[in-house]
């Protein structure tokens, strides 16, 4: 017994020592290449990973591949299609596909699948705007032709973003449940999706492009605080950082700042209240914001740099248009420093006089209107409240009003000023925001802005023979020296800020050259996912 008593502790210490040495050995041995990358960047699609209803319009479609990809200079590059051409009448696209492309189950991808995808997406009417498409047709197994109703220069953007799905008439074809079990020819295939929690994907062995750098990706769909805790515990490799929490993220993580055209701005109803309402019953028009003088004055009075500091914690730039810095936006369409005196003079000249309480009035109509913003969005709330504060000295009472999206659509969208956010890598957005054809068309041009000259410029851009020519027309729509939708023209909006998308990433992660992000903080950073590298051993 005494010997047993003596040997037991010794045995225990020996085994502890052995365990420790194994641990030391393990940690000392060179680490294998990083196989699993954990991302907490949000962006979980409610309706699943179905390109036909909008998946992949922002960021990388992950499971599917697209016909073309877009270079950083906005030029088209080969992807599924190796060769492409647009007919002289600019109504027919002809594309030749690679002949070695396979879906993740090993079956070949053919022109039939491409034609099916385009026709079905046009019919589905999702986020992909295929209204210009007449029909898509497989010419042979590897050739497809896309015919348009009318020339539409922005149609090419769908070739960059619409992921190809297997045709419905195949064994493994598209069906209603596709969004939850996506099958495509993209770099990754789905392993598991626990909705509201996480998405796990792994390399698609049949992917024909360069081998993706990571065997497995884990996307965590956690709230802001949980993501922060996970980052502090070293459990995520890259996380999207809300401006307010920037300081709380660990110093050891590198900050990646992705410039964006993810903008926020104030949309004004540009028509007076005539008692009309839209098809969903939402009332149209606002007597105060219908006066261009009010819109000019607001545009000149707002201190956008301060808004960036206050609402974005400095992570952004002042915005003056829907696509600042992009080729289809005028480069110098900015306003000088905020000028309250000039703004006041504009209002005085237009007949908006100060009453005793400091508020301006014109013909008995006080300069008071609501600025609605969607509930649950703290950045928009801060922008709305700070903007309202900036206009108060001017004698304009802009009342920030939080509304749920449903209420905003039903009651406010056409009669209140609304704090909206847009930002797309396609000029199609400019068309839908400012063409009178889209007046009252859902969120597009919800202020009922209409200017025939601007319409003509926008139509000319869509029918242009080249992207360069189209860009000239897009820019003229903003300001052609005489009129335009921009701040110098009709000032249909007061654009406020472009957000910087901030991410905290492990110091070993090299994400390459990040482009300019569209609307939506999160998924857009995956656009160049295949260029990412792990630099540590």
């Amino acid at each position: 017994m005494p010997t047993a008593l003596r040997t037991k502790p010794r045995l225990r210490s020996v085994s502890i020592l052995a365990g420790l040495s194994v641990l030391c050995l393990l940690s000392a041995s060179p680490a294998t290449a990083k196989e699993t990358l954990t991302l907490a960047i949000g962006g979980e699609p409610e309706q699943g990973f179905d390109p036909l209803i909008g998946w992949g319009q922002y960021g990388h479609p992950l499971f599917q591949s697209t016909l073309l990809t877009q270079g950083e200079d906005f030029s088209p590059r080969a992807a599924l299609a190796t060769d492409w051409s647009l007919s002289d009448d600019r109504r027919t696209w002809q594309l030749t596909l690679r002949d070695d492309v396979r879906f993740a189950d090993g079956t070949p991808l053919t022109a039939e699948d491409v034609a099916y995808t385009f026709n079905a997406a046009a019919e589905a009417g999702g986020r992909a705007d295929l209204s210009a498409l007449k029909h898509a047709e497989a010419v042979n197994e590897h050739r497809v032709s896309l015919t348009l109703h009318a020339p539409r220069i922005t149609f090419i953007d769908q070739l960059y973003s619409l992921g190809i799905v297997p045709a419905a008439n195949r064994d493994n074809g598209y069906d209603e449940g596709y969004g939850r079990k996506p099958l495509g020819s993209g770099p990754y295939r789905l392993v598991e999706w626990q909705e509201g929690e996480q998405l796990i994907v792994e390399r698609n062995p049949y992917f024909t492009g360069p081998t993706p750098p990571f065997e497995r990706l884990v996307f965590l769909f956690t709230g802001e605080d949980t993501t922060l805790r996970a980052a502090q515990a070293g459990e995520v490799d890259i996380a999207s950082v809300p401006p307010a929490l920037d300081d709380a993220y660990p110093e050891t993580m590198q900050r990646l700042v992705m410039q964006s055209i993810d903008n926020r701005g104030i949309l004004f109803p540009t028509v007076p209240d005539r008692g009309e309402s839209a098809s969903n019953g939402a009332p149209i028009g606002n007597d105060v914001t219908a006066d261009p003088a009010i819109r000019y004055a607001i545009n000149r009075a707002l201190d956008r740099d301060t808004l960036v500091e206050v609402a974005l914690n400095g992570h952004g730039r002042a915005a003056f248009g829907p696509a600042d810095g992009l080729p289809w936006s005028r480069p110098n369409e900015t306003l000088d420093a905020p000028d309250l005196e000039r703004a006041a003079a504009i209002l005085d000249d237009a007949g908006w006089q100060r009453s005793n309480d400091g508020l301006r009035e014109k013909d008995g109509q006080p300069a008071r209107f609501r600025l609605s913003y969607p509930s649950g969005d703290i950045t928009r709330q801060w922008l709305a409240e700070a903007s309202a504060e900036m206009l108060r000295p001017l004698g304009i009472d802009m009342q920030p009003t939080r509304r749920p999206w449903r209420e905003l659509r039903r009651e406010a969208m056409h009669k209140d000023a609304v704090l909206f956010g847009w930002g797309s890598r396609s000029p199609q957005e400019v068309y839908t925001l400012f063409h009178s054809r889209h007046a009252g068309d859902g969120y597009f041009n919800s202020g009922f802005y209409a200017n025939d000259t601007v319409d003509n410029h926008l139509d000319a851009a869509q029918a242009a023979a080249s992207v360069e020519q189209a860009n000239r027309h897009w820019r003229n729509a903003q300001w052609d020296g005489d009129t335009g939708y921009g701040a110098r023209g009709d000032a249909a909006w007061a654009w406020l800020v472009n957000l910087d998308h901030v991410y905290a990433a492990d110091a070993c992660l090299d994400v390459g050259e990040l482009g300019i992000a569209p609307h939506g903080h999160g998924w857009p950073i995956t656009a160049n996912l295949l260029d990412w590298r792990w630099t540590c051993p």
Partner: protein, 267 residues
């Protein structure tokens, strides 16, 4: 004066004084709770801003006072309406045994549903906002008081002095004026005062959860909701001061109600 009575009197006076000074101070605030100091955002408490500033550079002290005033009025209205409903229901129960059974059933049903759940459902169904909070709090807080009032009225109906009064041929109006009101009114007042802290707390809870007062109003619940975003950043003053203010106000009102109840009980 005995020691406990003296301390009760002092604490009640202090509570009243605190409450009054908060309301008076808030009345003189004007635009201050809304004013933004863009160059002094998220500053900790200092001599200029006693309670610090929030993310938009607004004075937390001014916003807390404004929030307490807002809570006070919302709570007052909700407590008033709640008491009126309770009184109405108690009187309805007096109409006959069937009515009594019906009222009791409603009271029991409402008491069996968790308070906050009922509040949330009503406020949500009404679309949020000040009116929704007042209606939700009033509709969900009357049953306990109604039960007390009903018992009191039942007791009164059987009370010998009321029956004697009836036998002496006094009119119904006389009995109500001279016997019912003097008995029931104190219960109503005390009930309303004791209902008030609940109303205030639940108003804050609803606003905190986003179905109460709108985000543009500096309600205490809204301030607390906003502060949650900054807890991770260590900006403690955004939550601590409004929270402490709310607690203090509720304690003050509870003190007043309690003193009033005891004073009447002693009579």
């Amino acid at each position: 004066m005995s020691q406990p009575r003296l301390s009760a009197l002092l604490s009640t006076a202090l509570a009243g004084l605190l409450l009054a000074s908060a309301l008076i101070a808030a009345a003189g605030l004007g635009d201050t709770p809304r004013q933004m100091h863009f160059d002094a955002r998220l500053t900790p408490p200092n001599l200029d801003f006693w309670f610090g500033t929030d993310a938009l550079g607004r004075d937390v002290a001014a916003r807390t006072l404004a929030g307490l005033t807002l809570s006070f009025w919302v709570g007052s209205l909700a407590a008033l309406f709640g008491t009126l409903i309770a009184l109405g229901m108690a009187l309805t129960a007096m109409l006959g045994p069937r009515w009594d059974a019906l009222v009791s059933l409603v009271i029991d049903t409402l008491l069996s549903v968790p308070h906050l759940l009922l509040l949330l459902m009503i406020a949500f169904a009404l679309g949020g906002g000040t009116h929704a909070v007042i209606i939700a709090v009033a509709l969900s807080h009357w049953p306990s008081l109604a039960r007390v009032l009903r018992a009191e009225l039942l007791h009164l109906r059987q009370a010998p002095y009321v029956q004697i009064s009836q036998a002496l041929g006094k009119s119904r109006g006389f009995i109500v004026r001279h016997h019912w009101i003097p008995q029931v009114l104190p219960h109503c007042l005390v009930g309303a005062l004791l209902l008030f802290p609940h109303a205030v707390l639940h108003e804050a809870a609803l606003s905190f959860l986003g179905v109460g007062l709108s985000a543009e109003q500096p309600a205490i619940g809204v301030l607390l909701g906003e502060s949650m975003r900054h807890v991770s950043g260590g900006d403690w003053w955004l939550g601590v001061f409004p929270g402490a203010g709310l607690l203090l106000m509720v304690l003050c009102i509870q003190r007043l109600g309690e003193t009033l109840r005891r004073a009447w009980a002693a009579r």
